[in-house]
Amino acid sequence: MSGQRALIACLIACTTVAFAQNARPDDPALVGMLRWLEVAQLHTPGEADVPATEIGRWSRIALVVLAGDIRKLATFLQRAREGSLGPLPTIQLYNRRFTLVEIEKVFHGNDTLKKGAVLHADIAVLVVDDASRRSGFFEDASVFMVDDGRRSGVRYESAHWQIGRALLDGITPSPGADAGALLWYRAASSCLLRDGHLAESRVHLDRARQLFPNSSHFLLDSAYLHQKFSSDTIQAAVEDLRSARANPDVGSRRMELERAERFFRQTLALEPAAAGARIRLGHTLGELGRHEEAASELRRAIDARLDGPDLYFAELFLGYEEQTLGKPGEAKRHYENAAELYPRAQSPWLALSQLARQSGDRAGALGALRSVTALPPDASDRWDPWWDYYEVHRDDAERLLDQMRDLALTEVR
């Protein structure tokens, strides 16, 4: 393997020298593109290696220029191979003109684009000193960090996800028909949601749904995202930001709930057995005030024989819907079911207490509340799944990244 990599490195170095002699690449952008073509081939997927670290030092604007240049190469290669550029096609790059033969020595079409996309995903995930997070050329590259419903800072989002998408857009005949591109988009989506990069997630998922309209993965991720946008945490943060004259791309609570509902329904149309999506659809409908519909979806979810947090959520949410629909007995039963699943979770006990107090049962209310006040003070000893309901935990992120990297290696071989 190391011998093969050394050979590739030698070939690239030789090619680059020849290329450089022809082009006299004194334009920094051209030099950068050539260097990128070289190190993209040298990068070992899944490692914060020298190529990843080197490209990780590039500025945001340099990366954007690079992506444009690589796309030009991809378009040129495609049209040249189709024969639409005549018998001796050439391309002008900065102050130099190159032949098809010269381009084909350093740029391998879809393989280079996908390898490059993996390189940039790895930089976004693995390279700590990602320079694109420190600088911005475009105003909209900045993102607000929020915590507990308020802004806690401003930073620049990594440009590398954007660059990865731009590279994959050059895949022929279409990135939407490419298994590697699909895997890259899924892995990226999972990482972005897991790490709370909401602004980037939105852009990413908008493009993913365009490319892969029949993938339930992106519909479900989109539903998660908009449901999170509807949460008290995000809505409070948005209000805080707007008071500071910022205008984050988040709609009103109702608007975001309606978007989430649409995506959950589309997901379920493709995957009717997706119980998690059905629970969240039920919860979303309840939030929208459509309690009968919510209860119906939640009952259907429970009938699907859930377990763990999914069952807990379904019971807790159905308890609330039954309470709202004026069925305290049913509400009590479902709250108790939730409490039985997670006896140290405070939410079902608070719900049971409030339900009792609502009916005038003061002793019952205090009794249920004692189950909360008797809990240990440390959150780690009394986890309540509700606390994490809006956090999109993606346990599949690392697995998808590994699959994406494996596929990239396989395709290059």
Partner: protein
């Protein structure tokens, strides 16, 4: 779970006896208690007798049986936001202010401590052992999100878990981000229980829930820019609460059950009266 804000009030169950010492009273019929703050040009008005008050329950004049000042022991519940947005200095101020408030309590009073981030945690139940609460205050650390609504509910329930006049002080520096209970539900509960809520909001973020809950229970929202003077704020709330009249009447000429609008006035005086706007009757 849309969240609206409604008015609030309190009612007392028929057989409940209020307090061991002082003007205790009991009744076999529903007695309604109303905590009333009377001020004139910003100064507290004392010396009023039952006959000085005019109470309208759903527009029907009632006979006030009792109007007392100070004598009834207090249940003071401190519900303190300890979410991650508070810094060490603010926590220090909070601990000192809590301790100062405890200094102002009498031996017949009780206090309880509730802290909340996303975790609602009882530092101490209602007790007259104030050193226990001081010790719990010292243990306070910060982390996490904010379950303001859940904590306010728990604080009200703790407040009404024993006889006496109940004051709930809810300190927060932000808005709710993690409660399970809805503001609607908790405001509705507040209409059924007997606790006066004073909200203390620090910083620039204003939780509308605190304002609504305070107003609905006949309490008040105190907005402060920093925690530097929290001592004085907490002590001021306690002093003000002690100056409130507790008036009581047995409703006559009104239909039991449902929402009862309350109008409390002082006869022949141009004073400002602060009381809960009504109560939900269970009967």
């Amino acid at each position: 779970m849309s969240r609206h804000f409604l008015g609030v009030f309190l009612t007392m169950a028929a057989s409940t006896t209020v307090v061991a010492q002082a003007p205790s009273f009991s009744s076999r019929v529903e007695a309604v208690r109303v905590d009333v703050l009377v001020t004139e040009n910003g100064r507290l008005v004392s010396g009023l007798a039952p006959g000085d008050f005019e109470v309208l329950d759903n527009g029907v004049p009632q006979k006030v049986d009792l109007a007392s000042l100070e004598e009834i022991p207090l249940n003071v519940v401190l519900a303190l936001d300890v979410s991650g947005s508070l810094n060490a200095q603010q926590i220090g101020h909070l601990q000192t202010a809590g301790s100062t408030l405890l200094d102002g309590l009498k031996q017949t009073d009780q206090a309880a401590l509730l802290t909340f981030s996303h975790v609602v945690s009882q530092g101490s139940p209602l007790t007259s052992d104030f050193n226990r609460i001081r010790a719990a205050l010292k243990e306070t650390g910060t982390s996490g999100q904010t379950s303001l609504v859940d904590a306010a509910y728990a604080g009200m329930m703790i407040g009404e878990s024993d006889v006496g006049r109940s004051l709930l002080i809810v300190f927060t520096d932000g808005v709710d981000t993690r409660s399970w209970l809805t503001a609607d539900a908790v405001l509705e509960t507040a209409k059924r229980c007997d606790v006066v809520v004073y909200g203390v909001d620090v910083g620039t973020r204003r939780a509308s829930f605190s304002r609504e809950l305070s107003a609905a229970t006949g309490g008040r929202l105190v907005e402060i820019e920093s925690t530097r003077d929290l001592n004085a704020t907490f002590r001021g709330i306690l002093d003000e609460f002690r100056q409130r009249y507790l008036i009581s009447y047995s409703p006559e000429g009104v239909t039991p059950g449902g929402w009862h609008r309350l109008d409390v006035r002082v006869k022949a005086r141009s004073v400002t009266v602060r009381a809960r706007p009504g109560y939900l009757s269970s009967h």
